[in-house]
């Protein structure tokens, strides 16, 4: 896909934004771009971009994240470095926005700057198997709430439909109609569909713009 200077990933919490954002940042870096990733989640106490620090370090991608992420401090904080996202236009920015309208609220701080620059993609990450977004209608309801909270309209869709470790090729294929329906009703293009790397070979000829992704592994809880 064509790359805008700022790519924002937003959507229902738990739809897979963090993994998608991590992989997208790595993809850009591997293309030779100068990219930083921003964790703008002000809601989740754990399970966040910081958990993918090893993956990011391997690729030398700086992570801008609240000092309090994954700590015991329960405050909705953003790192002051977040302003680099709009001030340093020499770098590409990948932004992991918090889930739902609550999580996206903080992004509103950058609404004016992002619109003035006019070089961003705001991507709606969708998952047909995620509770509360199983239909196009429910997905669009949450999409509208997010847009109202942060003031930034979506420009495209990422189909990340998955059932965690129980995802199969069938799971992914069965999500295509849903994604198309969201696209049809919103008028937004499906920028790409994500699938865990192990399933990529079996699906690459069956789905347009299919992208293999690596998923943060929480082995300890299996």
């Amino acid at each position: 896909m064509d790359t805008k200077r700022v790519t924002l990933f937003s959507g229902h919490y738990g739809s897979g934004k963090t993994n998608v954002a991590l992989n997208y940042a790595i993809y850009l870096k591997e293309k030779g771009e100068d990219v930083e990733i921003y964790d703008m989640d002000i809601v989740n106490p754990y399970f966040r971009t910081l958990d993918g620090k090893d993956m990011l370090d391997q690729h030398n991608i700086p992570l801008v994240v609240s000092d309090y992420a994954n700590s015991n401090v329960d405050v909705p904080a953003m790192n002051s470095g977040a302003y680099r996202m709009i001030h340093d236009k020499s770098k590409l920015a990948v932004v992991d926005v918090g889930g739902d309208d609550r999580g996206a609220l903080a992004l509103g701080r950058f609404e004016t700057a992002l619109k003035e620059e006019g070089n961003y993609d705001m991507l709606l990450v969708i998952n047909k198997y995620r509770f509360e977004t199983q239909t196009a209608q429910d997905t669009i309801e949450i999409m509208n709430e997010i847009e109202a909270a942060c003031g930034i309209p979506f420009t495209g869709i990422v189909n990340d439909s998955n059932l965690g470790r129980e995802t199969t090729t069938k799971t992914v294929l069965a999500s295509l109609d849903f994604a198309n329906e969201v696209s049809k009703q919103t008028g937004l293009p499906i920028k790409f569909t994500c699938v865990e790397r192990g399933l990529y070979e079996d699906l690459k000829d069956k789905i347009n713009n299919l992208v293999p992704i690596d998923v943060i592994h929480y082995g300890v809880w299996c």
Binding site: P45, F47, N70, F131, G164, E166, V220
Partner: protein, 351 residues
């Protein structure tokens, strides 16, 4: 089986409560259980239920008491410090013998502690927490699927025995997402002729309180309640056995610690160590029968806990200290690792 969907533990719990017929939720936000309240706030108005964010935890638990006394299924949820605040109300509910569901998505303590997952409210949940002679029925889910099934079970047990029931889980299980099947379940309902919901043709008014004017009367209330507890201890012990057939070492762990322990057991078995697990699903009543039986054939026990060692006391009591019981633990919001459990198994196997 219904098509699976991805849910957070807290969401599965909230959805289960609605499936169980709970239409009255009273709460106050606290990490890491806030999704329960957020979900109820969104959902309850759509189904004719009540979501109320109280001015404090103390207020919320007393609203639960009031709703439960009127005979409807009601609940509250909180996390460790919030449960301490609710403890007075919980004691009153035990004294009033009103059934309701109390959810504790534990975080580290004592005091304000932290927001990372913990199991250090075991004593508080199983031994009282509030004042007086009472028990709660305490259920400990170890998966998002069990957050669903045990929440429904919790409402049923509470109503059946007129005992407030607690779901004791931790931040990890509350926050993590897993595929869940929301199978159509038949939820048991119970007559509540004791409920204070109007006279309804009866020849008397039902009055619910926890005040007894004479010591003898209070003693009799307590004796009656403990007779019921005895039935619960006899009939309601729940546990899961894992690789216990030939086990020489028995791990005892619940919730997230049991998940880690399962990984550790698989690893230890690759090294030829005969280890299995008894996972208490009811923490009260504690699964003493299963542990007693295990004590006959196992040479040692390891209690794996995210606390300084609380359940270990119940393990020792259950087996009358017939075999040594060792502790493998992390606390303060740190999750014990599979490697740490394997190391403990190896250490104990050499003793």
């Amino acid at each position: 089986m219904a098509e699976k969907i991805l849910m957070k533990g807290n969401e599965a719990l909230a959805e289960a409560a609605i499936t169980a017929g709970c239409r009255h939720y009273f709460g106050y936000p606290i990490t890491p259980q806030t999704e329960v309240a957020a979900y109820m706030a969104k959902r309850m108005p759509k189904i004719g239920g009540t979501f109320l964010q109280a001015e404090s935890e103390v207020a919320a638990i007393n609203m639960v008491l009031g709703a439960a006394a009127a005979g409807v299924r009601s609940m509250t949820s909180s996390s460790s410090p919030g449960i301490s605040l609710k403890s007075e109300g919980i004691s009153y509910m035990a004294g009033c013998e009103v059934p309701a569901l109390i959810v504790n998505v534990e975080r580290g303590g004592p005091g304000l502690g932290g927001i990372q997952p913990s199991q250090s409210d075991y004593f508080q949940a199983t031994k009282g927490g509030g004042h007086g002679d009472y028990h709660l029925i305490v259920l400990a889910p170890a998966s998002v699927q069990e957050m669903y099934s045990l929440t429904i079970k919790g409402f049923e047990l509470a109503d059946n025995y007129r005992v407030p029931t607690m779901i004791l889980t931790d931040g990890t299980i509350g926050q993590m997402m897993e595929p869940v099947s929301l199978d159509a379940v038949e939820v048991k309902q119970f007559d509540k002729p004791w409920a204070a919901c109007g006279q309804r043709g009866r020849d008397h008014r039902n009055i619910i309180n926890s005040l007894s004017l004479s010591p003898e009367e209070l003693e009799q209330w307590n004796l009656n309640r403990y007779a019921r507890y005895k039935v619960i201890e006899e009939k309601e012990q729940m546990y899961e056995e894992y690789m216990m057939d030939d086990a020489e070492i028995c791990i005892v762990a619940f919730g997230i610690a049991a998940r880690v322990s399962k990984n550790a057991i698989v690893e230890a078995r690759k090294k030829g160590l005969k280890v299995g697990m008894i996972r208490p699903i009811t923490l009260w009543p504690f699964p003493t029968k299963a542990l007693k039986a295990a004590a006959e054939k196992c040479k040692a026990f390891i209690s794996v806990e995210l606390s300084m060692g609380q359940m270990i006391d119940d393990v020792k009591l259950a087996i009358d200290c017939k075999k040594p019981v060792y502790l493998c633990n992390r606390t303060g919001g740190v999750i014990v690792s599979s490697n740490e459990v394997v190391a403990k198994i190896e250490e104990v196997s050499k003793m």
